[in-house]
């Protein structure tokens, strides 16, 4: 049971990462290689914000920290879109993907410069929630992770399916030119996509930092997120959720049952398998493969 909950918790983090990648891809056909870095930067910012406001597990200063992080990530998403991605409209999408690679380099270097490569942890939620007879434990943070993931995906589903803006988002994702002809400001849609991506990345990063130590090397979770997105299909949110859990399950079980070092290689092994066997993922649309 404890295994199951741990896998769900880790899967929630990966699902959130994959979701962010899928949102940006759906909106603009750009694969965001900087997602892991965005998540870890967000986590570091949360940590520093918490440090400054003296946050503890409960109390108003925690809410302030959360507010600062949420606002900061929203703003950062807008900045990324306006300064970088907007200038790349009309160019081939792999150019934008390479720009995200450049962004990833800068963000990772930024972590090294600003936080001096210290390893930090986010000390909320590590208190045990429930202890099992066999010695396993679930911490608060596991529950928070799962709940946060479910809430986020539910909110996204409702947004995309039932709200006018979500409908316009889906239309703009399919055919931006037509959407502009129908009076939708496509720039707004794309900026929204990036805001959602950075926000969910920050959320994932914070949840991750609450269970493991953060360091500039942690940005490697971006690879797990990308693998999860590919497993599920780059243009499917449903696929992102499922992919996150699959990758988490594979990684966790390998670490527990076979060997921890092999577990590091699981994401890219899955990547290889997916690329050879079913590149468009479980829920992705086949035509996506040729559009890149």
């Amino acid at each position: 049971m404890e295994l199951f909950v741990s896998i769900l918790a880790l899967g929630s983090i990966y699902a959130l990462l994959a979701g962010g990648i899928v949102i940006v891809y759906k909106a603009s056909r750009v694969v965001n290689f900087a997602h892991g870095e965005l998540a870890i930067v967000g986590a570091y910012v949360f940590h520093s914000a918490g440090f400054l406001t003296g946050a503890t597990l409960t109390g108003p200063s925690l809410l302030v920290t959360i507010a600062i992080s949420a606002a900061g990530s929203t703003l950062f998403g807008v900045v990324i879109y306006l300064s970088l991605m907007r200038r790349l409209l009309g160019r081939p999408t792999f150019v934008a993907a390479m720009v995200t690679i450049g962004l990833a380099i800068i963000l990772k270097a930024g972590i090294v410069v600003i936080w001096q490569s210290r390893s930090v942890g986010i000390a909320i939620g590590r208190q045990p929630l429930y202890s099992f007879a066999g010695g396993g434990r679930i911490a608060w943070i596991d529950l928070v992770s799962i709940v946060a993931c479910v809430l986020m995906f539910a909110a996204l589903a409702v947004f995309f399916q039932y709200t006018p803006l979500g409908r316009q988002f889906r239309g703009a994702a399919e055919n931006p030119l037509l959407a502009a002809q129908r009076q939708v400001n496509v720039n707004l849609i794309l900026a929204l996509a990036w805001v959602l991506a950075v926000f969910s990345a920050t959320l994932a990063g914070v949840l991750f930092g609450s269970r493991s130590m953060l360091s500039p090397q942690s940005t490697i979770i971006g690879l797990s997120g990308l693998t999860a997105a590919l497993v599920g299909g780059l243009d499917s949110l449903r696929g992102a959720a499922l992919g996150g859990f699959l990758v988490a399950a594979a990684t966790y079980l390998t670490a527990r049952l076979i060997s921890p070092t092999l577990a590091e290689t699981v994401p890219f092994l899955i990547l290889l398998v997916v690329m050879t066997w079913r590149p468009w993922g479980l829920f992705g649309t086949l035509e996506e493969l040729n559009r890149v």
Binding site: L89, G90, P164, R167, Q168, R170, G171, E174, N175, L177, L178, A179, A180, Q181, R182, Q183, V184, N185, V186
Partner: protein, 267 residues
């Protein structure tokens, strides 16, 4: 040759000496001047590659991103210059384009397509669209990609109508449609024009269908306007009849020997 309106009427859309160049070397549209009077239907006729679609796109601001530029001319809509505006700004001014291809969102349902640009104020328009096109009401829950060609065209026009246009630009409405469906849709367009007073600029290869409902027409060839006039005048013109309407004299030379009559565009 006279313009489509009386001396004191101000044209709704006024395109003057438009020049559009592809890849900095290939002039697609040269010196084209078009006027659309308020409340009228104007047809642009020509074969493939005559520059009709390019003109429409230049007016609506939707030239493809790569290497196409409007290099000369003015476009003004109700006195407001359109060149340099962003596409969705032009659309919000009331110039709405129904494109030739990719005219609706295939993955959304009919209902979602029609409600794409919906605001509270526009709800009656959306209901009116269901009245004009009853087939859409029947299929309102269906995914748009699965509609037939005629239904897709109806949906595309419906979507454009929900945007509250003051001028509707329709690009190649008849492409891929059976004549009977084309006639049905064009008749509905005429009805809309009469009841809403909505000005329209239709681009068509099917000259007969277009001239049936239009009050004024322009003929484009090789990127230039070679002839313009009231619809009746076009329908009677010899060159029009021979080359665009498929109608020639029983006594014409064509029945006797192979020849190519040069288009002169006079008389």
């Amino acid at each position: 040759m006279s313009g489509p309106m009386a001396m004191d009427q101000v044209p709704l859309l006024d395109v003057r000496q438009l020049e559009v160049v592809y890849h900095e070397v290939s002039t697609a549209v040269q010196g084209v001047s078009i006027e659309v009077a308020p409340g009228s239907i104007v047809a642009m006729i020509g074969t493939n590659g005559a520059g009709k679609t390019t003109t429409l796109r230049a007016v609506s601001g939707f030239l493809p991103a790569e290497d196409v530029a409007v290099t000369n001319g003015t476009i003004s809509f109700g006195g407001q210059p359109l060149r340099g505006l962003l596409p969705h700004q032009i659309s919000r001014l009331g110039v709405v384009l129904v494109p030739e291809r990719e005219k609706l969102f295939q993955t959304l349902t009919v209902k979602e397509n029609l409600e794409f640009s919906l605001t509270r104020k526009r709800r009656p328009i959306r209901d009116a669209v269901y009245d004009y096109f009853p087939k859409l009401a029947e299929r309102h829950g269906q995914i748009a990609g699965y509609l037939s060609g005629g239904e897709k065209q109806m949906l595309a026009i419906g979507m454009a109508l929900v945007c509250e246009p003051k001028l509707l630009l329709v690009d190649e409405l008849s492409l891929g449609l059976a004549p009977i469906v084309t006639n049905e849709i064009i008749t509905i367009l005429q009805t809309i024009n009469h009841s809403l007073g909505l000005a329209m600029l239709i681009v068509e290869q099917n000259a007969a269908a277009a001239l049936r409902v239009a009050s004024f027409g322009y003929v484009l060839e090789g990127g230039r306007v070679v002839f313009k006039g009231e619809a009746e005048k076009l329908l009677k013109h010899q060159d029009m009849r021979e080359f665009y309407l498929g109608d020639h004299d029983a006594n014409s030379y064509r029945n006797i020997r192979q020849y190519t009559r040069k288009r002169r565009w006079w008389g």
